[in-house]
């Protein structure tokens, strides 16, 4: 969420700090009491690079409080905002270039246009935000427009989810009325309680921000620009916006028009089969889930509130931080109970269904049916499209399947054989390397940047390391240290540091190319001279008969890499 820049919300040190991780000359940060200032190269400069001027601007707002602090400065033109050229990573306690935190093609700049926040971000990062731009964003340079942006409150405040509350506040000044409602356990008709809406509209309250959508037409954009988005909690979301759902509306005129204007609209957010692949868009995942769309009754329909609660309940023994760390899962929803509430037949004997012990990672409903196949915020996120793992999804769509995201050392053939034995899923026809090389290696070597990022993250995932071992991963993660995509390099280095012997591995994923290459070479050298258990010297992990790494096979796979440019729109 977005907040005013204060000493509480600004987590980075601004006190005379020089940030060199930016495009151009270093950014200079200063703090003057409770004000935060930055001096940097003018990102809007279109003249010769050597004449690029420096600008000094005040940071006025901050977005993000869990993973990153993104800082917004006042450009000086009316109420226009833009983003600082560097972002502060909270866990790593370091600055990185703005572009580096988004999975984007190396030769393509991430949009840092003046007014982006005013026109786009405002809709979900404030309550009752109104862009109030005199012309549609992008049609006229913003500094030639009137920018009178307003918001009622920053962040997601009460009315974002509960709807307009003036009448509710007025009528509930009467304590007798309040206690009568408590006593009768009545639902207050003067306010929307998202959890008590029907299953469709309940999730749409969350979907207003956690979904991928577009205006129906230019007129709708202008109306929202002036009056704010027309959707109010409890409304039918699709009445006022086009919710992109390629599994359902790929061939509609709206989608075709969107693709004409923006050919990457679908590819940047969805897998080839139409399942959403980016974080923050969980509503799109939900509405494609059988637990939502095929539920027999309203009571058994999956909604956001089936698992999540937006206010920690008073009987939840966890602390606020613990609850928040689980993405606000309700008490008791962090384990299989979440699914078994409806799947009673499985509850009787979970192990018979999973073929894994109940306490193992393979015995977790979440791990198999909601694997970490979405990407965002420089990490892998659980898919919110409830699916059952298949090898078919990996060979046809390119999406890593849940089995091999844990059994990283096994082939697709191994997985298809087990799925056939256990669930009668037909064994698909597999190519030679799909039968002979571990699936994770195929994904790392041949997959697109998103697949590489997800697989690299799983190589640092403790359950996967526990099942598959980790020493054999080092050369493959080492190879990714030279990846063209910043996000892939970041995740590869992060996972590498979780492998015994590499905990202190020094590597800057946005450092100079030569340093990165040196680091990657150093990793391979350290690994090749370390004692490495023979049990991992397997052909499917690309070790030849002599127990040495089969560099030729590795290179052959690399040559088949999907190098299509990918920009994941998280």
């Amino acid at each position: 969420m977005t907040q005013i820049a204060t000493s509480d919300s600004v987590r980075a040190d601004f006190d005379g700090i020089i940030v060199s991780s930016v495009d151009g000359r270093p950014m200079q940060l200063e703090r003057h009491q409770d004000e935060f200032w930055a001096e940097f190269d003018d990102p809007g400069w279109n003249g010769p690079p050597e004449a690029r001027p420096r600008i000094t601007r005040q940071v006025v707002m901050v977005t993000g409080s869990h993973h990153q602090n993104i800082y917004w400065y006042a450009t000086g033109h009316e109420r226009t905002l833009n983003i600082l050229p560097a972002v502060y990573l909270l866990h790593e306690a370091r600055w990185v270039p703005r572009d580096a935190v988004v999975l984007h093609p190396p030769n393509q700049r991430v949009a840092t246009t003046d007014g982006h926040w005013n026109a786009i971000c405002i809709s979900c990062h404030t309550t009752n935000g109104k862009p109030l731009l005199s012309e549609p964003f992008g049609s006229v340079p913003i500094n030639q427009q009137t920018v009178a942006t307003t918001a009622t409150e920053f962040g997601i405040s009460c009315e974002a989810c509960h709807g307009p509350a003036e009448a509710h506040v007025q009528i509930n000044r009467n304590p007798m009325r309040r206690y009568r409602e408590y006593a009768n356990e009545e639902t207050d008709p003067t306010i929307v309680q998202p959890k008590k809406l029907d299953s469709v509209r309940s999730s749409q309250v969350c979907g207003q921000c956690h979904g991928i959508w577009e205006f129906f037409d230019a007129k709708a954009e202008r109306q929202a620009n002036t009056a704010g988005l027309p959707y109010r909690p409890g409304d039918e979301l699709r009445n006022t916006r086009f919710v992109a759902q390629p599994t359902v509306n790929a061939n509609t005129d709206h989608m075709k028009n969107l693709l004409l204007a923006d050919p990457e609209f679908v590819r940047g957010s969805f897998w080839r089969d139409g399942i959403v692949r980016v974080s923050g868009r969980e509503y799109n995942g939900l509405i494609d889930s059988p637990c939502y769309k095929d539920a027999a009754t309203a009571e058994r329909t999956l909604t956001c509130f089936s698992c999540h609660s937006m206010h920690k309940s008073t009987d939840d023994p966890r602390s606020i931080d613990e609850w928040a760390d689980t993405h606000q899962l309700s008490s008791g929803m962090t384990d299989n109970a979440a699914c078994l509430a409806c799947h009673e037949t499985i509850e009787a004997d979970v192990q018979a269904h999973t073929n894994h012990t109940e306490t193992s990672s393979g015995g977790s409903c979440y791990n198999c049916h909601m694997p970490y196949t979405s990407y965002g915020l420089m990490t892998a996120i659980r898919s919110h499209t409830i699916t059952s793992p298949t090898v078919q999804e990996s060979i046809e769509v390119g999406r890593p399947n849940a089995c091999n995201l844990c059994h990283l050392d096994q082939t697709l053939s191994w997985t298809s054989s087990h799925l056939n034995d256990w669930y009668d899923i037909p064994v698909p026809e597999l190519a030679r390397d799909e039968r002979s090389v571990a699936a994770s290696i195929l994904w790392l070597m041949k997959g697109d940047a998103g697949v590489r990022a997800i697989t690299a993250w799983h190589m640092g995932w403790q359950p996967a390391q526990g099942v598959s071992g980790s020493p054999w991963m080092v050369p493959f993660l080492g190879e990714l240290l030279g990846d063209q995509y910043d996000a892939v390099r970041f995740l590869a280095a992060q996972s590498l540091r979780s492998v015994p012997g590499f905990e202190e591995f020094a590597y800057d994923f946005v450092g100079p190319v030569d340093d990165r290459i040196d680091a990657a070479v150093g990793v391979i050298q350290q690994w090749s001279t370390s004692s490495f258990p023979d049990r991992y010297r397997l052909p499917r992990l690309l070790f030849n008969a002599n127990g040495a790494l089969d560099i030729t096979a590795m290179r052959d796979l690399f040559d088949e890499r999907d190098t299509t440019a990918l920009f994941l729109r998280e």
Partner: protein, 146 residues
């Protein structure tokens, strides 16, 4: 020549009763304060979590009102013993009102914090206004007699 109050035996009995009640009351509510401090010290979520802010407020109020009322009892007893001229029926009324306030005010706040609703205390809070009314009566009668 200074005015010498006309004490009656009943007045002195009431004075002793309130001084004794006040000290015991202080002991009870200062102990409650200590328990609340322990909750702070050990970061007890039952008391400190944001979702339990109503409980925290109610119990803090119970502690504060109970302790302050204990002091009022002691002051009233000393006042009665030293200078106060009040007829027996009024003393009796003030005594009942003060003791009632000492039970209802902190008791209501405490009950209101045991179980509560979203932003409102539990129904136990309903006895707080009764206690407040009794306290006002006691203070009024005492002020008039001084």
């Amino acid at each position: 020549m200074s005015h010498v109050p006309k004490h009656t035996p009943a007045q002195l009995i009431f004075a002793s009763r309130h001084i004794r009640f006040g000290w015991w009351s202080l002991l009870v509510f200062l102990t409650l304060g200590l328990v609340l401090e322990v909750f702070h010290g050990f970061k007890i979520g039952f008391y400190l979590d944001v979702s339990n802010a109503t409980r925290r407020l109610m119990w803090t109020l119970a502690h504060a009102h109970g302790a302050l009322l204990g002091i009022i009892h002691i002051v009233f007893g000393l006042n009665l013993r030293a200078t106060l001229e009040m007829n027996k029926s009024n003393i009796s009324l003030v005594s009942i009102a003060l003791i009632g306030a000492s039970v209802l005010l902190p008791g209501g706040f405490f009950l209101g914090g045991i179980s509560f609703y979203a932003g409102d205390p539990g129904v136990g809070i309903a006895i707080v206004p009764l206690g407040a009314g009794l306290l006002l009566v006691a203070v009024f009668l005492t002020a008039r007699a001084n």
